[in-house]
Symmetry: C2
Amino acid sequence: MDNFLEKLSNEQLKEVERQFSIYSQGAQEIIPAEELKNKIAKSIYHETPLKIKLGLDPSAPDVHIGHTVVLNKLRQFQENGHVIQLIIGDFTGKIGDPTGKSAVRKQLTDEEVKKNAQTYFEQFGKVLDMEKAELFYNSKWLSSLTLEDTIRLAGTITVARLLERNDFSNRLGSGKPISLHEFFYPLMQGYDSVELKSDIELGGTDQHFNLLMGRHLQEHYEKEKQVVMMMPLIEGLDGVEKMSKSKNNYIGVDDKPNDMFGKTMSIPDELIIKYFKLVTDLPYEEKDRLEEEYVNGSLHPKDAKILLGKTLVRMYHGEGAAESAEKHFKSVFQKGAMPDEIPTVNWEGEKLVPVIDLLVQLDLQKSKSEARRMIQNGGVKLNGEKVTDLKLDVSITNDLIVQVGKRRFVQLKTKSK
Amino acid sequence: MDNFLEKLSNEQLKEVERQFSIYSQGAQEIIPAEELKNKIAKSIYHETPLKIKLGLDPSAPDVHIGHTVVLNKLRQFQENGHVIQLIIGDFTGKIGDPTGKSAVRKQLTDEEVKKNAQTYFEQFGKVLDMEKAELFYNSKWLSSLTLEDTIRLAGTITVARLLERNDFSNRLGSGKPISLHEFFYPLMQGYDSVELKSDIELGGTDQHFNLLMGRHLQEHYEKEKQVVMMMPLIEGLDGVEKMSKSKNNYIGVDDKPNDMFGKTMSIPDELIIKYFKLVTDLPYEEKDRLEEEYVNGSLHPKDAKILLGKTLVRMYHGEGAAESAEKHFKSVFQKGAMPDEIPTVNWEGEKLVPVIDLLVQLDLQKSKSEARRMIQNGGVKLNGEKVTDLKLDVSITNDLIVQVGKRRFVQLKTKSK
């Protein structure tokens, strides 16, 4: 790649620096940063937008705000006129797991893939301008690769290099089987970059290996190498694990305003500033100001969370919804009143259940010992009445409302209604 | 697979035992031997020949008597009415080495593959009835495999299992690169057995891993599993290394009668009986008798070698050639006379060369120290004159004859003739 920085005027170089400073804000790692500057320079010199790639797993379409760390970064590229390439990895999705051993990688039908993609796009539309994004299904090129093509692809990489990937080396070391076909997933993902001539690929820091594979393969296939940008992963509501649907510690972009607000109020204080920085659309100056006020104590954690909650609800549901979510939360939080909407559960179990078991079975408490403590602290109510007897057998009736703590409610529906 | 042994008459069972005893003679390992009996029984019960597979590397068509260990075994199957499947691995040959690093695995053109195959078949014709053999090029099915097919193929095997192959584990252990595509060679070779529904695959003991892969894949693709028969490898003329063209320690089936005979006379005594057993067409009873006589001393090693040499020349060139080769050898060996035909070398080096360097450059000696010893022992002659001066500078002239030991001659041709 030529050095385009040398070809630009001072005015144009200022524009390079302006864009570079926006893109690098919040990024955990840019490989290599100098090349990113040169790519921006190239796009200015040739008056051609850069191609920014994001690969998507077709099997898990529920978008949560953990994903928006990357989406917000993509939006910044869009705002500066660059083109987003969204790639649905439908090829691997359609293959599933050929060993048949993994329930996670089950084979998807064409229809499921399309439906999942549709869900993605609707949810992405809340952050990105989907009119301007390019959409691709990688089966388009991968399904036409022959064995000869595949052998050439495999010839670009060594077994030792693949075994450097943490999960592979751990599994080999601990005697857990790695099926040979799994080695192809990073290769196929990387090959997408070859096919689409991507300039930049975005992903979370957990995608380090796969993202660099795209750069590696482009070099082998004599394309211009992509720059790799890794965004930090955010912890979920528990403050410990990476936000994910399977850990049930997430705020979905499709969550209802009151849920979104309530969940935000439940995050640990340590996450407040990180969330502000990575998942809100506030201007950077404001984020910096909030951080300063938070650190010097002039912004109280509770007020900061309310602002964060309102910001998130405003982003996904608008200004009005943000105001009512706050009001709703305060009414529940401050008066202990019941919320307007209570999630329901179809109860198919026994009709007489020990209260501790009930709380665990409804996922309102993680363990029996936690449930016991919660009852002892007076945090459990049935139809509004505090439970005091640890050994209470609860008689399940239709519409029974179970409340844990100040804000968690479940309403039971019995089958034989 | 059904138990066909149960379905046969006593007469038929005797035929099973007869064939089994022939096939198992000289075989190093049969996996599993019981299944081989059942396969024979199946062929008798259904009056259908078995399919006996042999895979061939298209890049090394020079057939030497090391190969005939397996070919002789194949002939026994042919003699009992079974069908030989010869598979030219042209698919891998056409791909070559995608990393471009291996000179050995260079890419072959269609023409080269065909020419090499032709050479194989002509040479095989000296042992097998090629009219009755089935010939296949594996590109026929491998070139139509898609990436999806390949992923399924790769899904049948774990990385750990592949790393069990000695050369892979050694290379990984010592930090030498294994390119990922190399993992596919055993898989492709094994897939040939799936495609051709082979009943039995033959190979040398060094093919252990690859042969069992065919059995493994047939099981995965729900075919009847092949029996694997491994034949011993024979050491070459040096008595140490496996016979191979690259080691230049081989007797080629195309070697001229005198070379064939002379090379046979040069093998170490320890190999005489092994060669008799594995590469001659003598009846088993005679082989046993020869071994007995050799062991009890009534057959002298020199006479045994002459008989072996004559047998090999008779097999590949006929009775008359065997007699003259013996006579020719005796005249050279006993009188130190020069042979009728001397190989020539076009000399393009310096015109004045230290004698020790000359011997090494002409490949007549492996190292300078060996050359020095040979001269000290009086084993080197130039145009018939013994060399005594270790530091002699040889003036290269056209037609100069260099002789090492009793039977190695080279005649130099200078360019500016």
